[in-house]
């Protein structure tokens, strides 16, 4: 079990399903920060984001046997977290909209050091800074692309939109940001 950290997500899922459910803790450890960060970009409310991530892990555990280990686990878990976030946004539309201006920017600044190694740090910071001006449909792909460093293919699997559609949304998002003289 000492090599558990070296195992791929997909192999780990197999072990959780067939041998030891306690190993699910390793999956939670691997993804809780990433998912929380992503959900925070969408929800902008720490408490609600935590609830969404917790629900996502619970939902993922319940449906773990349905996960096809030939696919990428990270896309699958992001998809579940994404759905949870969208459900919360729909449920609390009014409340979340009211939070828009006062959302946890401090949280984003706190996360900065995680992205030190990215090649275009400036772009990343700009995206973060002006994320709130983007409608949700553009915020989702641009967050996944610039801030979560997912490929178009992975974003396509998470959002269930074609790769072409992802490209179009990211371009549109960039144009909106450019219009605001950001880039």
């Amino acid at each position: 079990m000492e090599n558990i950290e070296k195992l791929s997500d997909e192999k780990l899922v197999e072990l959780v399903c067939t041998k030891d459910q306690e190993l699910y803790a390793e999956i939670v450890k691997r993804y809780q920060n990433k998912l929380l960060r992503y959900v925070l970009y969408l929800i902008k409310n720490r408490q609600k984001a935590e609830d969404a991530v917790q629900n996502a892990f619970i939902r993922a555990f319940i449906n773990l046997m349905g996960f096809n280990t030939k696919q990428k686990f990270s896309s699958w878990i992001y998809r579940i977290a994404h759905n949870e976030a969208i459900n919360i946004i729909k449920k609390n539309k009014r409340e979340i909209l009211l939070d828009k201006d006062g959302w946890d920017r401090h949280q984003l600044l706190e996360d900065r050091h995680i992205h030190k190694q990215v090649s275009d740090q400036e772009t990343k910071e700009q995206v973060k800074k002006y994320l709130s001006i983007l409608p949700l449909k553009y915020r989702e792909p641009i967050t996944l692309f610039y801030l979560e460093e997912k490929s178009y293919k992975e974003i396509s699997d998470i959002l269930r939109i074609s790769v072409g559609g992802i490209g179009a949304r990211i371009n549109r998002a960039k144009k909106i940001i450019q219009k605001n003289n950001i880039f």
Partner: protein, 247 residues
């Protein structure tokens, strides 16, 4: 990462694992997903099959009852058209296709390929398959049996329309035999009756009429005698050959 954030994230891990340890949440068994997947595939098959079958019925009824021919009379033909057109089947066929599209959205292919391409493909497939079924002549055979009659809606007498074969021609009066009800109807017409294809009626000719009932007689507002081909009458249940309704 700050200490606060560490603690908060630890909370997620603790909460999730606590629920797992307490057995408050359980994994759904693999069989659940296998059955779900099979049901989904079956649902997709069923919706496409139903849509094709309904399109086949619509094609049959458009061919046999020819609702668009009532539009030749202009405004007076609108109501008979609305009566005869198979609206319920059209609505059901559209609903089946929508259900099929909703099911397709559950599959990865819906976003990996062009979704609208798939949706249009599904619609085109259902239409072509439905038309091919109709071409096989299965409807003609099935519609002759009384239990299927309701589905095929083989009526030739309506509140404001009538179709049948002329068995007698008199001065501004026709005696008509309806194919399904085998009912003899006296049809009267006058100088105001719309006769887009003339008034040279002959015995044995098949016609469509719009108008109103006045007791047992039908007063024609319009008579269409061009290329009208009425369907064969139904076979009584348990018999193989069609009845000659002229007997």
């Amino acid at each position: 990462m700050t200490k606060t954030k560490d603690q908060k994230n630890k909370k997620i891990l603790t909460e999730v694992m606590k629920e797992i340890d307490k057995k408050e949440i359980k994994m759904k068994p693999r069989i659940f997903f296998v059955i779900s997947s099979l049901l989904l595939s079956f649902g997709l098959f069923l919706s496409i099959a139903l849509a094709s079958f309904l399109i086949n019925l619509i094609s049959f009824r458009l061919r046999i009852h020819a609702p668009f021919q009532y539009l030749r009379f202009g405004k007076p033909g609108y109501l008979p058209f609305l009566h005869v057109f198979p609206w319920s089947m059209l609505i059901l066929a559209i609903a089946s296709i929508i259900i099929g599209i909703v099911i397709i959205r559950k599959y990865d292919i819906s976003y990996k390929k062009s979704f609208w391409g798939i949706a249009i493909g599904l619609i085109v497939f259902a239409i072509i398959f439905g038309l091919v079924i109709d071409k096989t002549g299965i409807n003609e055979r099935a519609s002759k049996f009384p239990p299927m009659r309701e589905m095929y809606h083989r009526e030739s007498v309506g509140p404001d329309w009538l179709a049948g074969k002329i068995i007698q021609v008199s001065e501004r009066q026709l005696t008509l035999l309806t194919p399904f009800e085998k009912k003899t109807v006296i049809v009267k017409w006058d100088e105001d009756t719309l006769l887009p294809f003339g008034s040279e009626f002959q015995e044995g000719q098949e016609i469509r009429i719009i108008g109103n009932w006045q007791e047992e007689e039908f007063v024609a507002k319009g008579i269409d005698a061009s290329n009208v081909k009425l369907p064969a009458p139904p076979v009584p249940f348990g018999r193989n050959r069609p009845i000659d309704f002229e007997r």
